[in-house]
């Protein structure tokens, strides 16, 4: 018998009972005979049957604790009626439940009177006022009057427990939701109850802020106004919010969200409980990045380079210039970016650039991804398949906590509560390591060799820094017969993507029935790949017969003067491509740089023509997430100034080029998309309607990825350290920097080493060391990192203090640095 939400409450053991019928467990609710699912909590069974039981502490996505006692109902299991908390009680056969009895009402009134004893009732100033479960329950179930006249408990009014969350302990009713979330769901147990009795309070540990990537969720689940979000503080009241359901485009997980606006400004984002994707949780990046939408630095009008630099221009003039720039031989045009765009914008541009102009130098990834033809050709897994109980998940590449935080929460839940076994084949310990069955960290450049050893059964000797015992354990788990899902990402920007591709090939050989979940992180990159924004893929589906250049190739050709026009579709290669020098050379040597963007980024500032685009929250559209699920993007606020949706910009430019696209509305674009791209051919666009998870696309690939000979990494030189460059959630990305509350969250760049290497150098954490590479050096702080292999240094990408892109070269298979004491 399936649970109402599969995998939700694995701890409630399925009881087999003689009285349990095929249909369910019979019980009586307020005199009506009903059926509950096996293992279902009484509070859920009542809810499903239309009887709402008031609650504060119970949350369907977390383990019940029975803290608040609000859900007391009268239950008779044959030993006489008594009050029991319905969130702690699984329905048992012939249970008689009364939620309307005088005893139940008295219990509810009593609990509410007690709960309100110390509640300050400062509702008019409280951000929760108007949408507060305590307010609602007090009105619906409360006694109406309090007999309590004594002074209430006092605490210092809001204290910041992190830069994003404020805690008002006077309002707290000690329901344990936030603390349970931090411990059980996020795995960052940084807030807890302290003190005893009437002095009990939630607080952080001294000197340890609640610096979790997921802290915003505690604000959303707080049933009172005890936890409030600093970015939303006093911005609006619930009754003047207008909302629409949409999808987070921050990363490729595509978490379902609600966009809330007031006075045509996005003021808040909440997570939607989507069974398929994010289970109502969001990372703080998904939750608070909307601040950038409202930034004063948004591009509001087209800019054209003149003698005075970039100056405002009319749309028609700017588009004419773009038309001229695109009026050169197709091979002299390079197109970088496109993963920020909604599917419709991607299609309109792809139709113009690939379909009409025949440009093949198109790449949505900036040297930090994996080849499109490999990623699309692999047998795909959904998030639900990856997180299915008792499966095996192999993480190849990046740290999901840093790159795909919503997916991380699902994986963490699967590993910690559903018995999913996680194998890490990552460059370093990740956020999932504490929950992983096996954590193996091949040295940079060795992951392909390690995977090959597992595939070929060569498990007796250490390979690429992975001990034989670990190799054997991995092989055993992969061969255990449990369904295997491989999550493939790019864990190290300092090593060539080909090592990861080799590892994919080997893993496919090792487990032929394994399914793959793409871990490419850029927003709508999967939509971009479907539309051919990758050199090896054709527009309309299938492989390209004339593969063009990838981003590194385009930039190299541009630096050599072989590219006439460079079109940047919301791409910032100067800051975002892991070889800054090459990007700078390229932008310098190109005749015309055209940028379609939302902000003046480092690269946009070098452009000749800049077209302002509308962004998430301002446009309708569709988003394809990493599992191939199409979900809606909806407009909630109007775009600033003259900024336009991307598909309109493509149409406008197409008219100047002389091959006008015949799209007058988003429905026209979708009709064209269905006609031109086979994957969307049979799609029912109505499925993107009001709510729901959105349809999973069916990919009937006609090709399988072709793998060449494995690439062999050069031997280490013995003096240097192999370099890992990976991403942090908070970095110098444009959107993070344009969000006022998030701007200061990125940590300062440092070089991370393991304890042995630190000791070998004779330095300790916090000391300055000199990092040297082939043509430069930089003084950096050194930090100790647990779980980093020996002989390896890590410098995260795009952090303040040092642009590690300066030392990377896209020619090198692996990067090596020397660290010396200054």
């Amino acid at each position: 018998m399936p649970l109402s939400r599969p995998g939700l409450r694995p701890n409630s053991v399925t009881a087999t009972n003689a009285n349990e019928t095929e249909a369910g467990i019979p019980f009586i609710l307020n005199g009506k005979a009903l059926l509950a699912n096996s293992g279902e909590m009484l509070i859920d069974a009542c809810e499903r049957n239309g009887v709402h039981i008031p609650r504060f502490c119970y949350h369907p996505r977390m383990r019940p604790v029975g803290m608040c006692r609000m859900c007391l109902v009268e239950v008779d299991t044959g030993r006489g009626a008594g009050l029991q908390p319905s969130c702690m009680l699984t329905v048992s056969p012939e249970m008689v439940v009364n939620t309307e009895s005088t005893e139940t009402k008295q219990a509810q009134e009593g609990v509410l009177e007690l709960t309100l004893i110390n509640h300050p009732l400062d509702c008019p100033v409280c951000d929760k006022g108007g949408e507060c479960p305590l307010q609602d329950n007090a009105y619906a179930y409360g006694p109406g009057e309090s007999r309590f006249v004594e002074e209430k408990r006092h605490f210092e009014k809001p204290i910041s427990i992190s830069s994003l969350v404020q805690l008002d302990r006077e309002r707290c009713i000690l329901c344990d939701r936030c603390t349970r979330f931090a411990d059980e769901v996020a795995g960052d147990p940084l807030i807890h109850f302290i003190d005893r009795g009437s002095q009990t309070q939630v607080n952080t540990f001294p000197d340890h802020p609640f610096s979790s990537y997921f802290s915003g969720n505690t604000v959303q689940i707080c049933p009172v106004g005890a936890l409030t979000a600093s970015p939303y503080r006093f911005k609006a009241r619930p009754w003047d919010l207008a909302e629409t359901e949409s999808t987070a485009t921050v990363d490729s997980t595509g978490a379902r969200i609600v966009l809330q606006s007031s006075q045509d400004r996005l003021v808040r984002v909440l997570g939607v409980d989507s069974d398929a994707v994010n289970w109502s949780w969001l990372s703080d990046k998904e939750r608070f990045l909307h601040e950038a939408t409202d930034s004063n630095d948004r591009l509001t009008e087209p800019l054209v380079r003149s003698a005075d630099g970039l100056t405002p221009a009319r749309w028609t003039h700017a588009c004419e210039l773009v038309g001229d720039a695109l009026n050169v031989t197709a091979s002299q045009i390079g197109v970088i970016g496109g993963s920020r765009l909604p599917l419709e914008g991607q299609y309109a541009w792809a139709k113009l650039l690939r379909g009409e102009l025949g440009i093949s130098n198109v790449d949505a990834q900036l040297g930090d991804g994996l080849p499109g033809e490999v990623m699309l050709g692999l047998p795909r897994a959904t998030i639900a398949q990856a997180c299915a109980p008792a499966g095996v998940v192999l993480i190849l590449g990046a740290d999901p906590k840093e790159e795909l935080p919503s997916l991380y929460l699902r994986l963490r839940h699967a590993a910690s509560q559903d018995g999913t076994k996680i194998i890490e084949l990552t460059p370093r310990a990740t956020g999932l390591s504490p929950n992983a069955a096996i954590s193996a960290h091949p040295l940079p450049g060795q992951v392909g060799v390690v995977a090959a050893a597992i595939a070929d059964g060569k498990l007796d000797a250490e390979v690429g820094g992975v001990a034989p015992g670990q190799l054997g354990a991995i092989a055993e788990l992969l061969g255990s017969g449990a369904p295997v899902t491989v999550i493939v990402g790019r864990g190290n920007l300092a090593e060539s993507a080909s090592f990861t591709v080799d590892a994919i090939a080997a893993l496919q050989r090792a487990v032929p029935e394994a399914r793959f979940l793409s871990g490419l992180r850029r927003g709508n990159v999967h939509g971009a790949l479907e539309l051919g924004f990758a050199p090896g893929l054709a527009f309309g589906g299938g492989l390209s017969e004339d593969p063009g250049l990838d981003t590194a190739g385009i930039l190299r050709a541009a630096a050599n003067g072989e590219i006439e026009t460079l079109l940047l579709l919301a791409a910032d290669p100067l800051a975002d491509f892991p070889n800054s020098e090459l990007a700078a050379d390229a932008l310098k040597n190109v005749a015309t740089v055209v940028a379609v963007d939302t902000f003046l980024t480092a690269s946009t500032q070098q452009a000749n023509v800049v077209l302002p685009a509308a962004m998430t929250g301002e446009v309708d559209g569709a988003f394809l997430n990493l599992e191939g699920r199409l979900s809606p993007l909806r407009a909630k606020v109007s775009a600033p100034g003259q900024a336009r949706p991307d598909w309109m910009i493509a149409v406008e430019v197409s008219q100047s080029v002389g091959t006008p696209l015949d799209f007058g509305s988003i429905d026209d674009v979708r009709a064209g998309l269905a006609a031109d791209v086979s994957v969307f051919g049979s799609l029912n666009w109505d499925l993107l309607g009001a709510s729901g998870d959105g349809p999973l696309l069916e990919f009937n690939r006609t090709w399988e990825p072709q793998f060449g000979e494995p690439v062999v990494a050069p031997l280490p030189d013995g003096y240097g350290l192999r370099l890992i460059v990976d991403r942090k959630l908070w970095d110098l990305g444009t959107m993070v920097q344009q969000s006022e509350s998030l701007r200061d969250l990125p940590e300062v760049a440092a070089v991370h080493l393991c304890r042995q290497d630190l000791e070998g150098l004779g330095v300790s954490e916090g000391d300055d060391v000199l990092v040297e590479w082939s043509n430069g050096s930089q003084s950096l702080q050194v930090r100790r990192e647990v779980g980093l292999p020996r002989g390896v240094a890590r410098i995260p990408f795009r952090l303040p203090g040092f642009n590690v892109g300066d030392l990377l070269s896209s020619e090198d298979l692996v990067a090596e640095i020397r660290v010396t004491v200054t």
């Binding site: 400062d122 008019p124 100033v125 006022g129 108007g130 009014k157 809001p158 503080r233 006093f234 609006a236 009241r237 009754w239 003047d240």
Partner: protein, 233 residues
């Protein structure tokens, strides 16, 4: 041809005199003085005029920017935004103050629901309705215009016709119900210690002249809630 009948109606009404009277209150005579004939007629005790935002005795603003007035306004004429009080220099008691407060008097229907909704009696109505504008922007009163001055008295804006004594009874006296929601609140002091007015005599509620007041002791809870109203300091 029917239109001659229409002219006939016009002609018939020609000699009947004008029934509409020109509103002359405040009109100056040729000497630049208000003529005795132009004195304003006394207004009903519960006339609803333009709003004021009140202050506490210590000068702090009563408005906490909770937006309940904006939420309840049936004409959607109120726009409020809250902001954090500076701890060292607070504008109002507590964490939050009304950062923006605007009332559009082209939309306001003077229903007084905002006054009912206000948890701190920050917004009340005067009896003044004699003001006019020449453009839409001027019709939007901002906080700068609505807020009472440092003495707790409504500001006499240049385009408004205030006469001596008319600025009395502008704060906290126009509620139809007590803030607890109880109807019975007569004979209780519904305000206290107001800047500009101090403690005022209890109001008499909504009775016909000559009707005897209900016994104050009959509704004890009403009396308690009355005391409650002034205790927001």
């Amino acid at each position: 041809m029917g239109y001659f009948e229409g002219f006939a109606v016009t002609l018939k009404k020609w000699g009947e005199g004008v029934t509409t009277k020109e509103y002359r209150a405040g009109k100056l005579d040729s000497k630049g003085e208000i003529s005795p004939k132009d004195q304003k007629a006394p207004k009903p005790e519960r006339a609803h005029g333009r709003h004021v935002l009140n202050r506490y005795e210590d000068g702090m603003e009563k408005c906490i920017g909770c937006e309940l007035c904006a939420g309840v306004c049936p004409a959607k004429c109120i726009y409020v935004r809250g902001a954090d009080n500076q701890p060292e220099d607070p504008t109002s008691p507590g964490e939050r103050f009304g950062f923006v407060y605007e009332i559009n008097y082209l939309r306001c229907i003077h229903c007084d629901l905002c006054v009912e909704a206000c948890p701190t009696q920050a917004i009340t109505e005067t009896k003044l309705f004699e003001f006019s504008f020449t453009n839409r922007e001027d019709a939007i009163y901002t906080k700068a215009e609505l807020l009472v001055d440092n003495d707790g008295l409504p500001q006499h804006l240049p385009w408004e016709d205030w006469r001596p004594g008319e600025d009395e009874f502008t704060s906290g006296w126009m509620r139809a119900t007590a803030s607890s929601g109880k109807v019975q609140y007569e004979n209780t002091v519904g305000w206290s210690g107001e800047l500009g007015y101090g403690v005022r005599a209890p109001e008499m509620g909504q009775r016909h002249p000559g009707e005897s007041p209900p016994d104050a002791d009959t509704d004890q809870s009403g009396a308690t809630s009355g005391e409650d109203q002034g205790s927001h300091h």
